[in-house]
Amino acid sequence: MLRFIFSLLVFSLCSSHLLAGGGWPQPKENGYFKLYQWWVVADQHFTDVGLIDPNTTNGIFNTSLYAEYGFTDRFTGVVNFPFFSRAYFNNTISGTTGDLLVPGEAINSIGDTDIGFKYGLTQNKPLALSATLTLGLPLGNNEGGTQGNLQTGDGEFNQMLQIDAGRGFQLGKLPAYANAYVGFNNRSQGYSDELRWGLEAGVNLFNKKLWAIGRIIAIESLLNGDRSVGENSTSIFANNTEFISFTPELAWNFNEKWGVAASVGTAFSGRIIFANPSYSVGVFFNLR
């Protein structure tokens, strides 16, 4: 039970927004850019009943560029581009003979890429509302390796509509913010559609040098896809994955433009998804 409670989860690849996004579009000609590495190495997964079973160790490493740019004060373009994605699984070795039973394999490619269009529904109001349309482009490899079970993408084009509501406030004397979103992800190629929601709060510490952020993300599958889809897919690209995750994050600003950020993805629960921690480290730049 402790293992279950404290087991950690991979959260979605497109959830790595740092100090950006939420209900606030970028001001015109302002931007936020981040070069980051996200990875998970998993030797266990959540099963369809939410328990944890072991699996052959799988790893996926994405080196990505995340960018937001304000074309107008209301309209912001968003890109999350994993320009190098590596997926592998370990060798399986007989504990009896030491023989190699199943050789490990790896693939390298670009990964599935998100392109988003955010529109500010409010301006200069205490409550910042925005709507975002995100297109998930299947640029990754969904059938890599000799068995077709290595993936750097899911092979389907998805469209997600998301509504964000954010508000800045003072926590004592400290600047802080909170944001919530809800979204519907329409998936193709027989994959089940998804409901997504998230809560996020951050507080600025050390004279605006450090943002400490907590984020809860949830994906709920509508289980309306084809049963035969994703027969060779492992998490994080399997069909009908679900989770509720908690992701603490720290972002340190060297100055007004440059900073570094790091986060770890943890979980309360999950189904058909890896159950090990995911990590992200990156360097970001604020265009002002």
Binding site: W39, D48, T56, N91, T96
Partner: protein, 229 residues
């Protein structure tokens, strides 16, 4: 240390971390010898060719010298190639023996030498599935001859999780591994009775000890069922 050196060090660490490693699986099973051709009764004066296989400690069939013996040479004579001859009426036990470095393993088969020769022709072998994971898997199964082929029949009470990607079914002598197992095929039925046809020239009725359900993408065993007979 410069910032660029920290970044370089971090990338180098990730590069090493992203290399293929080794997963060790516990796949030891008890070696066994199994008599695969059987006769219930042998007529006096008739011959019968016994056959047996040896399965090693990882469940792989392996050529091995098998010694044959009869519990009563006055009733049944048998040579070291397993060729038995009925001598006189009575009950007798045939034993197949393999000498290993540290132990001796045997399998026995009882038969009668009588008026007629009756070849053992079991209509089927049966077993019951059980889950060894948290995925649903249950139900009875039967492996039986069907002309020149074999048919594996899953019964009405069969149920398996349909949420697991890439579920395959195997015949194996090692329920902990698909190494050396015979892959029957991908599972496409998740409840109720259904069957698989297995080429008789590739698989013998008594060749394997277990049915194994294995998830290929996750590389993990889901469940198994041992043949009862």
């Amino acid at each position: 240390m410069k910032f660029s050196q920290i970044i370089f060090g971090a990338l180098l660490t990730l590069l090493v971390y992203s290399c293929i490693g080794d997963d060790i699986i516990f796949d030891t099973v008890a070696e066994n010898v199994r008599i695969t051709s059987r006769v219930d009764s042998l007529a006096v004066g008739d011959d019968f060719q016994f056959e047996a296989i040896f399965v090693n400690n990882i469940g792989i069939e392996e050529p091995m010298t098998i010694a044959w013996s009869s519990s009563d040479e006055a009733i049944l004579a048998i040579d070291q190639n397993g060729l038995a001859s009925g001598i006189s009426k009575g009950d007798v036990m045939v034993t197949a023996t393999v000498d290993l470095a540290t132990k001796t393993i045997t399998d026995t088969w009882p038969l009668a030498v009588a008026d007629n020769t009756v070849i053992s022709d079991p209509e089927s072998r049966t077993g019951q599935l059980r889950t060894t994971s948290s995925y649903l898997l249950e139900g009875d199964f039967e492996l039986k001859p069907d002309g020149n082929n074999l048919t594996l029949v899953l019964s009405d009470d069969y149920r398996a999780s349909s949420n697991l990607p890439g579920l395959y079914v195997y015949l194996t002598n090692n329920p902990n591994s698909v190494n050396g197992a015979y892959e029957i095929g991908m599972v496409t039925e998740f409840s109720g009775t259904h069957s698989y046809t297995i080429p008789g020239d590739e698989v013998g009725l008594n060749q394997y000890s277990h049915l194994l359900y294995f998830c290929k993408p996750f590389g993990v065993k889901v469940g198994d069922g041992e043949f009862d007979n």
